[in-house]
């Protein structure tokens, strides 16, 4: 019989309850800074983990795509003396255009990259991402190097100004993150999702069964671009400012680190990784690394290196290992009840 309450699910539900209570439990700094950032970063990471876990494609282009969504939104909504086009259109139109253009770009890039696989795909999407960065740093009519500021003054009414009403953006980011999670969970069980997983496991066989492999890869990439563009919109509302540096090579690698720390192969890893990354980022900014020197990047680089070398499954992989071995240990001590908790798959 299948167990519906497992330890993992229990922890997940507890975490969910905690973040829903959010502002009642956490300090203002945690709500407006750490957790909201975790949510949007987790959505961006989801777009990458969805592709890697269910499509077998590790894409480093997601940051460029959320950057495009952010830049478009910034250009459309702002007014007056800021950089870019400052069109001053409706905030909702900004959201629609940002997501629409970023998703269309995802379709184009996906069509170009979908015939490559494995490590080629990674290199290609990295190149796309970095080219997007260089494009926006050199084209001054859209943003230029210094970027667009004052976006928080042009959010839709429901969001308000995140500086004065941080809880609104917090809940919007939370709900979006939750919907993205449920949406992807649902999608991978649809015929499209199942085909995608077939393509991941054996493209040749799927192709000979009559499935259009490149089309499925392209559509998956487009969908991931849509998810990434949601993160882009939340990011610019949260950050108030967007410039090319916020989606350059540094952030590209940061998002990869988030996914690897969490787990490249499980959706939950997106938010676990994002939370861990934001915490490390936040609390090691002023740290001087002993012996070798350097700053936050050395710390995060070393953590990244250790995780890649020792646990390819990330923190969730480590957790799974601890979980299994802990059970085995307890079972050995005679706790028979616990041995039944996880049925062994035949």
């Amino acid at each position: 019989m299948r167990r519906y309450i497992t330890l993992d699910r229990g922890i997940g539900i507890a975490a969910l309850v905690l973040v829903v209570l959010g502002p009642l439990v956490f300090s203002g700094y945690w709500v407006s800074f750490i957790l909201t950032q975790t949510f949007w970063l987790g959505i961006a990471a989801t777009s990458m983990i969805f592709l890697s876990a269910y499509g077998g494609m590790v894409s480093l282009g997601q940051v460029g795509i959320y950057g495009v969504a952010g830049i478009v939104l910034g250009n459309v909504v702002t007014t007056g003396q800021v950089k870019g086009l400052h069109l001053g259109w409706s905030p909702w139109l900004g959201v629609v255009l940002g997501i629409g253009i970023a998703t269309a770009l995802g379709l184009l890039l996906g069509a170009l990259a979908s015939r490559s696989t494995g490590i080629y795909f990674l290199m290609l999407t990295l190149t796309f991402g970095v080219l997007i960065y260089y494009f926006f740093s050199s084209v001054t009519s859209f943003s230029g190097f210094s970027g667009i500021s004052g976006i928080q003054g042009h959010t839709p009414h429901i969001v308000g100004d995140p500086t004065t009403h941080p809880n609104r953006l917090y809940y919007i980011a939370l709900v979006t993150a939750f919907l993205v999670y449920l949406g992807v969970r649902y999608l991978v069980r649809t015929p499209f999702g199942l085909t995608l997983q077939g393509v991941r496991d054996d493209p040749v066989r799927m192709s000979s069964l009559g499935y259009n492999v490149t089309l499925h890869r392209t559509l998956a990439f487009t969908l991931a671009a849509f998810i990434a563009s949601l993160a882009g919109v939340l990011f610019v509302w949260w950050n108030d400012h967007v410039d090319p540096t916020s989606f350059g090579l540094g952030p590209i690698i940061d998002l990869l680190i988030v996914c690897v720390i969490g787990s490249l192969y499980r959706l939950e890893g997106a938010w676990v990784g994002a939370f861990a990354f934001v915490l490390i980022n936040n609390y090691t900014q002023s740290v001087n690394v002993p012996v070798v020197g350097g700053s936050f990047n050395t710390v995060i680089g070393l953590i990244f290196l250790v995780i890649v070398l020792l646990s390819p499954g990330g923190l969730l992989g480590i957790w799974g290992w601890v979980n299994r071995h802990g059970r085995a240990l307890l079972a050995g001590a005679g706790a028979t009840m616990l041995t039944k908790a996880r049925p062994v798959k035949p």
């Binding site: 015939r115 260089y134 350097g294 700053s295 990244f304 290196l305």
Partner: protein, 365 residues
Amino acid sequence: MTEYVANVRAQADRAELVRLIARRLPRVLVLLLGAFAVAWVLFWGKDTTYGSAVSDPADFFKVVLDSLTFAGLLFVVASGFTLIFGLMRVVNMAHGSFFLLGGLIAYYLQQDFAHGGGFGLNSSQVSTLNWVLPALIGAVCLAAFGLIIQQLTLRWNQGQELRQALITIAISVIVADQLLAHMNAGNAQDISWPGSLDRFVSIGSIQYSLARLFMLAAGLAIGVLLWIWLHKTRTGMVIRAGVDDRAMVSALGVNIQLTFAIAFVVGSLLAGFGGVMGGSFAGLQTDVGSQWLLNSLVVVIIGGMGSLGGAAAGACLYAFVSNFSAIYLPTTSNNCCTEYSVAFTFGLLAVVLAFRPLGLFGRPA
């Protein structure tokens, strides 16, 4: 009846023709685009930095030379990248950091040798030896550094491509941060060309920088040396065999681990030497490292990974497209320069990938 058959035949012929045109159409479009670009540069590009090539042949010739010499530098850096990838299937994402590290080591050595005192050296203060010696030491240091990295982290993960790429990314993050902390990589550092190279020579009607011509010569020399090494020596033969079938080579009793180490050392050496030349050409800064990772990626994606000829072709195409789009696009209002040349690099990538997903000279693994 015969009329019916003739009808069907005519219909089939028409359908065949339509299909043929549809199949050739993309190719024809690309050729037309290429022809338009050439015609634009030669005759029509009036509102560009130098005007059309016909109206200003001297500057046109200069841009051609600029592209060729830049291609030389691109080739040096990208050939190391493609050598490592071709044999080991390792995408060395730390290639840009290796470039930066090699250049910075040479910079500090040169400062020390020529008593620069931390300021920019004038090329007249730098003797040839004060450039060559730092360059060689920098490149050799990088070779040693590459060997350590390969032995410590990559060797026991052979065959796990994604994991190795992630490892090199982690290393690039750490190295870049350490360079910021200890080697002042946040500020631009210029290696100085030696006085003997930093002058102009006349080619035909124009004056051209000898240092830039040296980059082209270095690229050609390294290309020839690599070709001789890969095609005329035993090690090269093993490497080429390893590119095609690692397991078989290893089964024949060749020490493939030694071959991997040699390839990685040579690849890192080239990154380091490229860093010295790049640092003399355009200075060194944190951002330059990521710029050169991008350059190497673009070159090998266009040319096809693991192919030396591909790296050369990719370097030339990339250099020409980026230089020409920077000079021969219509200038912006302030009559300075154009902003959209990056879009052309992307266009080049897109066109190459649309026709050859594995690059011009790429072969399936």
